[in-house]
Amino acid sequence: MEIGKQIAWYRINTLWFVLLIVVSIGAAFTYAPTAQATIDAFEFKNDELRTRYQDLAAVLRCPKCQNQNIIDSDAGIAADLRQQVYRLLNEGYTDDEILDFMVARYGNFVLYEPPVNSLTYLLWYGPFVLLFLAGIVVFFLLRGNRSAAQAAQQINEDDRERLNKLLNKKSD
């Protein structure tokens, strides 16, 4: 392959790689709201309570059916927890107090977003460490490519010289 083409090829490859990373990171931060599967006949005093109820029920995880929040789940325990959230809201509990109430009974498991503590550092910061390591690997790979490309050019010049010599000999 011609040197210019080769370098262009590396550039396009790098571009794709960066694009891929950007898209992955973007996807990770995109929030996909879940459809509401269950409808309880709860009467709310005002819209603010209703919104708070929906927000809380969306971040609480059903202990029985572990990949659903308590809104999505039909399990009896999820209905009980919804009822409980509704009751506590009406009793004037704050959002944090309600989450604490649930954690005291069901553990951190009941939260979709686990708290940051010494047990969960790996969970929270591990991906960033991996991203950093991947960055280092990419850096060295790209540097390796560039020197390889330069080496390729070098050999070409050597060859040209040798070729010239041979040609000169012939013409003598």
């Binding site: 009980d80 005291a104 009974r105 069901y106 553990g107 498991f109």
Partner: protein, 176 residues
Amino acid sequence: MKRRLMLFIPLVIFFVMGLFLWQGLKLDPRELPSALVGKPFPTFTLSTVKDESAAITENALKGQVSLVNVWATWCVACRQEHPELVRIAQESGLKIFGLNYKDTRPEAIRWLDEYMDPYQFSLFDEDGRVGLDLGVYGAPETYIVDKDGIVRYRFVGVIDRQVWLNELLPEVNKWR
């Protein structure tokens, strides 16, 4: 030479990840640690299945190591483990307290008459409020409570001979 060795890094990473994932296969994601282990049994005042006018509090559980078994007549697995509970009560002399969870009284009484009653008494938790305080998410569940009323162990699922001898009995003896 150094470059050669570098080539083995992906293989090493593969094996390390494989080891972790292989270990992960053995974990049961339904087995949740109880948030209550090491904490006092939640406070309550409940009647019992057989005595509507009783008013039992958490103090009734204190005084010895005991089992608290969450059961209900609608729970198929509870029926399955029931003979083992009867056997444990007879064999070991361990006090077993029932927590009848979201059930009806007549059905619960019929169950106890029909299948024998291994319980000192069964607390009647009709609306599941105490079950919720206890972090119950499905019957049967069994808790080991020590003499001071502290929850020491939680077992979710059917108790059979194996579970009793290998998992629960050693734990009971630890707190006895």
